[in-house]
Symmetry: C2
Subunit: 223 residues, 2 copies
């Protein structure tokens, strides 16, 4: 329906304007901002828990958690001592820039180095909504199967980083890492791929090093 | 935005009308029709493959496969000898009744006993779109974590059956089956729960028995 297409185009245009304002604010503050997108249960909150533990207070981290229902994810991160704000979308399948703006107006996260925005668990809807982030991170658990990048190409093409999670399960599932790397390279030749297991700690140092490099790069560009 | 709400209400109303027509057609044909909904990678297609193998030609099965991109899922089912039609949604995060109507007008699936409609991998968007099915089936892989019913309550409240998949992974993941049963009972006291592993075959006979009971029930009601 043309009407639906029109309304969607206007909603996206309004979102882009708000996202551009957010991005300016994030640039001024010097915080690196990530938009984490994956299926439900790929391990976004668990990766953030491992990240908080790995940095051990060396950087100031904060999180915005998007969910349909429950404060559970923000609770998990607050339990580790970082500021975390839950956005309940009331049924919507993605966060939008206006919701993030509202949190930033109220919470501020003063002096934060890295702000993680954990989107609603969904490989599709969040893809089109810019939240003013520096880059998108897609997560893919090895339990989800190795056909996913080509089945959900938009997010894997747009994410600058793909984190393959739960690699400790590789002996127990059918998941061809090389095949996934090929799909990702074809969708996004410049993209980076990190293999992680929050359970064993594998790949967490590489992931944290990537975050520190990106943060340093953003601050150099700003100086 | 009120405009968005209005358009969405009109889209859903049009979908309900089309779904009601589909349901009449399905009732006349005597086919049992399921709408399978889950996150990407919960194992919908793998469960259908196991189901086709378990029935071994004793019932006439057919499938409609919904995806953003690739014909992969329909190919997997056709390889097992059942008719399967792929719907590519062009980015949309759910199937709608109009798309199913179009397939039924063209494909017919003559004399089919059970029609499986595998929705786009998404725990949120497909929930509101009636496809004329007899009932919705939610799948939840044990690798996704045991907090999912309360985090995505709408689908688990509406699905008459929840299939917990990949239970062969239980020794390797943190997933409390009793906690999930409690959440499901609270969201949907009349719902049925089946634990399965397509890899070991666990629970597949129970799942197939449930399908046969439902099919017999539908045909008795019609007689």
């Amino acid at each position: 329906m043309a009407e639906v297409v029109d309304v969607r185009a206007r909603v996206l245009a309004a979102n882009e304007e708000e996202a551009a304002r957010l991005r300016k604010g994030f640039a001024a503050s010097g915080a690196l901002v990530l938009n984490l997108i994956s299926s439900p249960g790929s391990g976004k909150t668990t990766l953030l828990e491992a990240t908080v533990r790995a940095f051990g207070g060396r950087l100031r981290l904060a999180a915005i958690e998007g969910d349909i229902a429950t404060e559970r994810d923000a609770d998990r991160l607050r339990a580790l001592g970082i500021p975390a704000v839950q956005i309940l979308t009331g049924g919507a399948c993605h966060l939008d820039a206006r919701q993030v703006r509202k949190v930033m107006d109220e919470a501020h996260f003063p002096g934060v180095d890295i702000l993680f925005i954990e989107n609603v668990g969904n490989l599709i809807c969040p893809t089109s909504y810019d939240l003013g982030e520096d880059f998108k991170v897609a997560l893919l658990s090895v339990a989800e199967g190795d056909d996913k990048p080509f089945k959900y190409p938009a997010i894997f093409a747009r994410a600058e980083v793909t984190v393959v999670t739960k690699v400790d399960l590789l002996p127990h599932v059918s998941f061809d890492v090389a095949a996934v790397r090929e799909q990702l390279a074809s969708l996004n030749p410049a993209g980076e791929v990190v293999l992680t297991s929050a359970r064993t700690g594998e790949g967490i140092p590489e992931w944290c090093a990537l975050l520190e490099q990106r943060l340093a790069g953003k601050r150099r560009a700003r100086a």
